[in-house]
């Protein structure tokens, strides 16, 4: 997959403007995933369906081990479904897809590269034009507040800063869809809030479609336009909630918004673990 750079026109605009009438960014239909562990078969995902529209921010919330991460790996093509179909932008996913950005819970940085060169690996592997890539890196460093830390090695960076580097790396080629697997799960509460605010701003600024997996109900509701709630294993989407909050979300104001409370309560009830999760 080449030429992922220079789709800027489509992706940097207003998310609504880029929103095709019908084309879904991510379409997961009737997908089941079975893992064979020794002699027993584990059903990780059971007949799951999820659609994410272009420019949408969708969060997947669910208990541990419900197959949330499996869902993301399916979308990235890192995993093949046992049955059902997965497609990105109406082309079926048959192997690892390069037209995505992926962020793991751990930053997964190359410890021999500085922050800047960790971001640049995306450009190197894709053989992007060096000048354009460098300008894009400057832009992302500025956008994520990494300025001044470009030449630090990963071990010199805090968890939050490492995750910012991972985010820049995932955004470098302006992927039409960003898949995030509990990206802030390993951060302390304060850093996590800060990263939530920044991610929401980045989503508004770039218009990228984001599919985010989280086990934090508050994070899901604050960030997403829609939240897909999954059941415990075998995982399936039991309900999808539209979050009735404005696109421009102030963190403190959102936390005390009645719509926020209603949505988090609803999700808690769905998960059958009132107060037990998050």
């Amino acid at each position: 997959m080449t030429g992922a750079h220079d789709q800027a026109g489509v992706l940097d605009g207003d998310p609504a403007a880029a929103d095709g009438a019908t084309a879904a960014a991510v379409r997961i239909e009737d997908v089941s995933v079975r893992f064979r562990a020794r002699k027993t078969e584990v059903l990780a995902l059971d007949d799951t369906t999820l659609r994410v529209g272009r420019g949408e921010f969708v969060a997947i919330a669910g208990p541990s081990g419900c197959g949330k991460s499996t869902l993301l790996k399916l979308a990235a093509g890192l995993l093949r479904p046992s049955s059902g179909t997965v497609s990105l932008f109406d082309s079926e996913v048959t192997g690892p897809r390069a037209d995505i950005g992926y962020v793991f819970q751990r930053a997964a940085l190359l410890e021999w590269r500085t922050a800047r060169r960790n971001i640049a690996i995306q450009a190197e592997i894709r053989r992007m034009d060096t000048g354009a890539a460098n300008r894009r890196i400057d832009e992302l460093i500025e956008m994520t507040g990494l300025a001044g830390f470009e030449d630090a090695y990963p071990h010199e960076l805090s968890g939050g800063m490492q995750q910012r580097v991972a985010l820049c790396r995932a955004l470098l080629h302006r992927p039409p869809v960003l898949l995030m697997d509990e990206p802030f799960g390993a951060l302390d509460a304060l850093t996590r809030e800060q990263m939530n605010v920044e991610l929401h701003r980045i989503w508004r600024e770039t218009g990228t479609t984001i599919l985010l997996v989280t086990h934090s109900i508050a994070e899901a509701v604050y960030l997403a336009g829609r939240v897909a709630v999954m059941s415990a294993r075998p995982g399936r989407v039991i309900e999808t909630l539209d979050i009735e909050l404005p696109d421009q979300r102030d963190y403190a104001a959102t936390m005390s918004d009645p719509a926020f409370a209603a949505a988090t309560n609803r999700i808690r009830r769905l998960l059958g673990a009132e107060g037990g999760i998050d």
Partner: protein, 284 residues
């Protein structure tokens, strides 16, 4: 705007310190005075037992006699040191080439792993020193059997460390590479190989000292050149000052080669935890 202009600045970042020359010198003194003091103490014990006549000079020569031998025979010793060093370096370099290649094969091909690994382990059980006479029979008294023994003896730690290194790569990093559309060569060159280097270097440090041993063993078994030959001949003549001189030069070769590997490691892996600034690792 980034939010860290309003919120507290990101924490947990240690400045990227580049120590000044004076600080480096102080660091060098701090690291080297203890081993030097120990060596000096051993030297004094050596001097004391010989000067008091506690041990006969034909068993342990005095430091003075040894140094005299070193100086008087410097040309002879340099000539033979050169031979041993060459055998060692050539053997070591070939062991690195073959070892790394074998490790890559083992990691990338399950068939190669199943075939090579058990044989490698078995070969490691055979004492290489015991095969040395056979190599002399096959290859004569020249340069090649010594190199071959050096290769054989240095090969194993290199393979083992390189296999461990190539396997130490973060699996999520490999998945990320896949989402970037990386081919196998790119994944190897940009991710797997650099990730394996710290492991490889710890193997190289073991291997290079073993390579010296290999070359010297080869010289013991057959030949008329090299430090092994010098020691063996001095032994036959009960020329203990020369024996000691040979041992000292041989240790010197091993130490220099070891530090060359350390230097290469320092230059190639400035990022590695073992190379991080002392301020972060020492408590006081």
């Amino acid at each position: 705007m980034s939010s860290n202009t309003t919120a507290s600045p990101p924490t947990g970042v240690t400045p990227h310190a580049r120590p000044a020359a004076s600080a480096r010198a102080a660091d060098l003194v701090d690291r080297s005075w203890r081993p030097l003091a120990l060596l000096l103490a051993l030297f004094l014990v050596w001097w004391a037992v010989t000067v008091t006549g506690l041990i006969q000079p034909y068993l342990v020569p005095s430091p003075g006699a040894t140094i005299e031998t070193l100086v008087d025979n410097s040309g002879y010793l340099i000539q033979h040191t050169w031979i041993t060093t060459l055998e060692t370096v050539v053997g070591f370099a070939l062991a690195v080439a073959f070892g790394v290649l074998a490790a890559v094969l083992i990691v990338y091909s399950p068939t190669a792993e199943k075939t090579l690994y058990p044989v490698l382990l078995f070969a490691q059980v055979i004492p290489k020193i015991a095969i040395a006479p056979l190599f002399i029979v096959w290859l004569g008294f020249g340069f090649s059997p010594k190199v071959l023994i050096a290769i054989l003896i240095a090969f194993f730690p290199i393979v083992i460390s390189m296999v461990a290194g190539l396997r130490a790569v973060d699996p999520e990093m490999l998945e990320l590479a896949a989402t970037m559309g990386a081919g196998p060569l790119q994944t190897f060159g940009k991710i797997r190989l650099p990730a394996s280097l710290p492991h490889l270097f710890s193997g190289l440090k073991v291997a290079v000292t073993l390579a010296v041993t290999g070359a010297v063993v080869g010289e013991f078994v057959g030949g008329n050149e090299g430090l092994g030959f010098v020691i063996l001949q001095a032994n036959g003549n009960i020329d203990t000052p020369m024996l000691f001189a040979g041992l000292i030069v041989m240790s010197f070769v091993g130490v220099v080669l070891f530090f060359l590997i350390e230097l290469a490691e320092k230059l190639l892996l400035p990022w590695h935890p073992s190379r991080r600034s002392n301020a972060a690792t020492t408590a006081f």
